[in-house]
Symmetry: C2
Subunit: 324 residues, 2 copies
């Protein structure tokens, strides 16, 4: 199987040589911009890695990898409008750089373009690929809607949160691995196991993200701490604390996350204080590793020689052990 | 071939019995709302009529007809956000009834759902159908972008306008007829002729719309006159007048359509005065009939018995002769 670095290199090459030969520029420049702004290309790389697990021929998979990356960037583009975000990966968001209408429409065109790349997959697997892709796309939108619903609710449960991130984040990771497997010629049982693998590690990665927002290594990477707390986001950590902390701490926490009045530094300090008192970081880490292990178990059952699985296993581990 | 009324009835039945068995409601209620608000179902009816031209079996086509109607309504939903429209078919638009973010996201989900219905078409034609659908979807977005570009330009030519409406409006009508033909088992030559038919009558209908906005029968239908003029829209009539009127009239017209300061009644009166002086209505009507006839010629070449073509021919004629 190819390594993540190799897969990433192929994806970056595909993207940089992608010429969308269509007009008008006002519509397609934001698409190119979103793609050029970068990101780690985790999802499309997963398509290629999964494909290479079952086949030495991975050239078939690069169009579908692009489709996944386009779709992912479409969701980021529209999410940025909905969240009123000014920056994405330290660069101006599309609605800031151009305007809101162009951001809506170029997002629309990006989601449709992703289907243009899906079309290119071999005829005999097209129905399965198309069905998986559309089902996943719906799930991602549904997850985003739950996320928006939760903003104005104060009674979100941990289970509801897990359901939301399963849709919003992990469905696309699961689909990337399954899609790559189908393209590599995997049997249905194996591609379903790859989906389970992706679904569970996808949840694990999101929990890890939630942890890193507060306990990440800011020294090394210069990323600010506690952005989720400032944004009053209901992350796993917040919801877990609201579940298990004592009445007084829950009251304070509930108040803190429903206002923007508190001084930012003070707010972060108070929330972290409560987290530390109730061991929230450790609980979140255990939960994240639990999903990770469930995912790995599914992966272990995939009917491919164990040695072949090394790159993907290493990569998943890397994502779990990252410090930002 | 089935009549338009019959096709419309089938489409309305399909839509009213459509249960989108997915959650959350906040996301799917606006989808159901958009579909329930109605419209004449011209495009999906065209899918069914075209299919019935080549086959007695039209049940295959109803899912694709739904896909077309869903996609059309998605474009209306997002256009309404971009245009800041408060009403659509005399009912509140989605962003007014719910909010802007829900309108963006439910539009996204609507466009993806349209692919869900495309998936259901027979395997052997899926690649062709998918390719046509996606290409059309891109064209519609491109047309919308040109339309937005033209808002801030004062040098739009009649040809540019025709290109824009070909993308924004007539591509979907053309695709509806071609899609129905493919589903009915038409040969490539015939389905291409159906596309040409649809493309040209689509342009003709839009020109007719432009004319009706000013010269429509308001008495009978209570629709207001001159909404395009008030909105400073660069319709065929305005652009033609800017092309052929004398220098002084062009100056006045140019000034009128770049401001919102003029009294509305006065503005409409002045613009219509210029139109009447230079025979703009007659020129637009001649152009509309020219496209209509070009379309009909393509239709005449379709290798189906002439008698079979009656419903579609009558329907196209009806659309041309409507007074609102």
């Amino acid at each position: 199987m190819i390594s993540f670095e190799k897969a990433q290199e192929i994806v970056n090459h595909e993207i940089s040589s992608l010429i969308i030969n269509r007009e008008p520029d006002e519509l397609y420049q934001p698409v190119q911009y979103m793609l050029s702004v970068g990101g780690k290309r985790i999802r499309p790389a997963m398509v290629l890695m999964a494909c290479s697990l079952f086949s030495d021929q991975i050239s078939n998979a690069s169009k579908c990898a692009l489709a996944i990356e386009l779709f992912h960037n479409f969701t980021l583009l529209h999410d940025d409008i909905m969240d009123n975000s000014a920056l994405r990966r330290n660069k101006p968001t599309v609605h800031e750089k151009w305007n809101r209408n162009i951001a809506i429409l170029s997002g629309d065109v990006m989601s449709i373009l992703s289907y243009r790349f899906i079309e290119d997959c071999p005829r005999e697997i097209l129905p399965d690929v198309l069905s998986l892709f559309t089902d996943t796309a719906l799930k991602v939108c549904e997850g985003q809607q739950y996320d928006m619903n939760y903003e104005s609710r104060n009674d979100v449960s941990v289970d509801e949160y897990l359901k939301m991130i399963t849709l919003k984040t992990s469905a696309l990771i699961a689909a990337s691995l399954k899609l790559g497997s189908i393209l590599g010629g995997a049997q249905a049982a194996d591609s379903d196991l790859m989906y389970e693998f992706g679904k569970n590690i996808g949840i694990a990665f999101q929990l890890k993200d939630d942890i890193l927002d507060i306990y990440g290594d800011t020294q090394k990477f210069g990323k600010r701490i506690g952005t989720d707390i400032i944004a009053n986001k209901k992350t796993y950590l917040i919801l877990k604390a609201l579940e298990i902390a004592d009445a007084e701490s829950r009251r304070i926490l509930g108040k803190l996350i429903s206002t923007n009045d508190t001084n930012k530094e003070e707010k972060i300090k108070q929330v972290i204080g409560i987290f530390n008192r109730f061991g929230i970081k450790e609980i979140a880490e255990a939960k994240s590793w639990e999903f990770y292990n469930t995912g790995l178990q599914a992966f272990n059952f995939v009917s491919v020689e164990d040695l072949q699985k090394k790159s993907l296993r290493d990569f998943a581990r890397q994502l779990m052990e990252r410090e930002r």
